[in-house]
């Protein structure tokens, strides 16, 4: 596993920033770009994601896990990022690393550029991701003795932006994310979690991994790439 960088367009256009990517890159013919899960789920699934990448590498497939602007090690301010910036980042990474396929996880499949075929593991609506984060904020506020409601938080957030689960989200991010639904992308096959068996790792209170699930997802992708 080697760290690399790719030139990623800045929000609103202009010069490109460098973002990090983890790669298994031996210049092989089949090259899978990973569209990572978003927000907290990205952390919960990172170990699982890299375990899937190890298995793809073992099956003779190069793979690349890019950081999206504003997430993980990125130095970009998340509060200035919109879903469209992530779509452009994935497109830029696909171009830079000459990806032949894409494997999206959870919310990562909501921001695919549409040029690459591939897979979307455990698709989720943008509205569901937001609702879970809004709830977490309401529960945490309540523990701190403050009452907040879903409707007033969203109303405030759309106008002024909102911090959810430690992520600063702009009004535009909230609006667009709430409308994104999976399954709109031609050439992308959904892989429901049930196909892998075992418990959903993005729900786990403590981040965890599952070898059998990583084996199963890597096998589906490796067979598909070879087809």
């Amino acid at each position: 596993m080697t760290p690399a960088t790719y030139p990623c367009p800045l929000p609103g256009g202009g010069a490109a920033a460098q973002e990090y990517a983890l790669t298994f890159d031996q210049g092989r013919n089949c090259r899978v770009l990973i569209a990572p899960a978003l927000f907290d789920e990205g952390h919960k699934l990172r170990r699982f994601t890299t375990e899937v990448m190890r298995r793809l590498d073992g099956a003779g497939i190069d793979c690349i896990l890019p950081d999206l602007p504003g997430l993980n090690e990125s130095e970009q301010d998340l509060a200035l990022i919109e879903p469209e910036d992530w779509r452009m980042a994935i497109e830029a990474a696909a171009r830079h690393f000459e990806a032949t396929h894409v494997l999206a996880l959870r919310g990562g499949g909501l921001v695919l550029p549409g040029k690459l075929g591939g897979w979307h593991y455990a698709p989720v609506k943008g509205a569901s991701l937001l609702k879970t984060m809004l709830r977490a904020r309401i529960l945490a506020s309540r523990e701190a003795g403050r009452e907040e409601s879903l409707d007033t938080l969203m109303e405030h957030g759309l106008a002024m932006g909102l911090e959810l689960a430690g992520y600063s989200l702009s009004g535009e991010m909230l609006r667009q994310m709430g409308e994104l639904v999976p399954g709109k992308q031609p050439g992308i096959t959904a892989i429901e979690h049930e196909l892998l068996g075992g418990g959903a790792l993005w729900l786990r209170a403590e981040a965890d991994e599952d070898r059998a699930q990583a084996d199963a997802l890597a096998a589906i992708v490796a067979i598909g790439v070879a087809a």
Binding site: T132, M133, A136, L139, G199, E206, D208
Partner: protein, 86 residues
């Protein structure tokens, strides 16, 4: 064990990272969140969203208080009430 009971145990197994036989051993008196300090607000929020999706119910924020998570029996009773109402 009815469908609601079985599905609720499966969701808890996912969130808590337990094996099926461990959640099968839950009784009505098994303590949940008070006994499990690692369950932060994000984990509870994920649990609620998953309950809505898999059990086909809608949970309003003002219905959520610490009491419903105190024991497995309380959470199951809450879930049954929601499913009956739906």
């Amino acid at each position: 064990m009815d469908t609601t009971d079985r599905k609720l145990r499966a969701i808890l197994a996912d969130v808590l990272g337990l094996k099926p036989d461990q959640v099968a051993a839950f009784t009505a008196d098994t303590g949940l969140f008070g006994d499990l300090p690692e369950l932060d607000s994000m984990a509870v929020a994920g649990l609620l969203t998953e309950m809505e999706d898999r059990l086909d119910i809608r949970i309003d924020e003002d219905e959520i208080d610490g009491d419903i998570f105190e024991t497995y029996g309380r959470l199951l009773a809450f879930t049954r009430t929601k499913r009956d109402a739906g």
